[in-house]
Amino acid sequence: MTDETQDRQPSAAESPQPEAVPAAQAAPVKPAAKRPAKVADEEISRRGFFSWAAVAWVGFSAAMGGCMTAFGRFMYPNVLYEPPTSFKVGIPDDYPAGVVDDRFKESNGVWVINDEGRLYALIAICTHLGCPPAWLEAQNKFKCPCHGSGYYKSGINFEGPTPRPLERARIFVDPSDGQIVVDKAQKYQWELGQWTDPSSFITLA
């Protein structure tokens, strides 16, 4: 490149107007013809091209991966406006024997039941497909409106398509204020033999 510009300069200087234009036009052609003979330093080599291409592709892939990760993470909310999974439901004396308490079903999705000296919390989610069953006092059973699954007061299933009993939640008395705490994050399944776990019920005096 540098040699050629030096070659061209005197000719352009000697004959200013008529030859200046053809020289400029010929300029792009000349170095192209001479390129194989001498590869200048600034010119990108085959190896250099692929090195840069590799860096560019890695950078591009990393950027895309970062974006996709961000998009994916964006879909997971940080704050949920849902009722807490652990909550207080009053003192044991609030629950007379044999009663299925419907008060916390709408707000927290559990029934608190006093049955034969034991207090337990049944989670109000049908184990068939996840609908909320209803407590039918007159028929003494839980009945799901979606597909007709039925459960006894204990939560054991006896009719409809459901494959297993309702699940129970962790329940205990908070020693600080004597209130019953129900914790839905911890579940107990009958078919796994978990209903004998002492934290799945409260023994009443």
Binding site: P77, L80, Y81, E82, C131
Partner: protein, 259 residues
């Protein structure tokens, strides 16, 4: 006078820039007129006689596309009234039915959706029974299967939007399937493998269902999420795949005729 005006318009730059070919007088110009117009070029220049036989094609693909257009137009109109929040969604839906002018618009959208699911299935059935999935059309069959899934997803996401008891519990039941997603569902196979030092990475607060419905139970977050998917996400993908689908029908030799 009138003739002068007409030739003045036809020779104007505005007219010529829009209609490049004049009134076609021979076959070549007719073909050029079809190819040069964005609306007409979607239609093939020549149609096989067998392609017009209703008893063979049932016109179920065309009817499905027509219903997609009906859903797009009526759905766009519904969007002017419907607000996808827990507070308003149900009442806006009732208003659309009871007090909005042309309350039939909502019913058209609803019945059109039912009809589209049926016609897409019938189209698939016809294509299968006539062997039209065979080479060279096997790729287009696969595009069609994806379009079928998208049609069902449109139907599923639209199901939640009335926000009545049927909608909420139907989506509760339907979205429970996502719990069983391999690896990414809390109750799915392989989910237990994704854990670090005994801490589960995939649980009810981090699995695929959680991302789908924006929470542990169906709520306001689910409503807006399904609304966006229903109105923007899925229709865009479906429209693009439909373009590919129709293009491939032409490339693969037109609507399949009797072999």
């Amino acid at each position: 006078m009138l003739k002068k005006l007409q030739s003045g318009i036809v020779k104007s730059q505005v007219w010529k820039s829009i209609f490049r070919v004049g009134i076609p007088t021979d076959n070549r110009k007719r073909a050029m007129a079809m190819l040069g117009n964005v609306a007409l070029h979607l239609h093939p220049i020549k149609v096989k006689k067998s392609g017009l036989r209703m008893s063979y094609t049932w016109c179920m693909g065309g009817t499905s596309f027509f219903l997609f257009l009906v859903e797009t137009i009526t759905g766009l109109l519904l969007m002017f009234y419907y607000r996808p929040t827990v507070e308003y969604a149900f009442f806006d839906m009732v208003d659309l039915r009871e007090v909005a002018a042309f309350g039939i618009m909502r019913e058209l959208h609803r019945w059109g959706a039912h009809a589209m699911v049926i016609t897409v299935w019938l189209h698939m059935f016809r294509v299968f029974m006539t062997g039209s999935y065979k080479p060279p059309r096997e790729f287009n069959w696969n595009v069609g299967v994806v379009l079928l899934v998208l049609t069902l997803l449109l139907s599923f996401t639209g199901y939640l939007l009335p926000w009545d008891q049927l909608a909420i519990w139907a989506i509760t039941v339907g979205s429970n399937m996502a719990r069983a997603t391999p690896l990414l569902g809390a109750e799915g196979p392989g989910a237990a493998l994704l854990s670090i030092g005994g801490t589960k990475l995939i649980h009810v607060g981090s699995d695929a269902r959680f991302a789908l419905i924006a929470g542990r139970t169906i709520g306001g977050g689910t409503l807006i999420r399904f609304y966006v998917l229903h109105c923007v996400g899925i229709p865009l993908v479906a429209a693009w795949l439909m373009a590919v689908h129709f293009w491939r029908v032409r490339r693969d030799g037109g609507i399949s005729g009797p072999m």
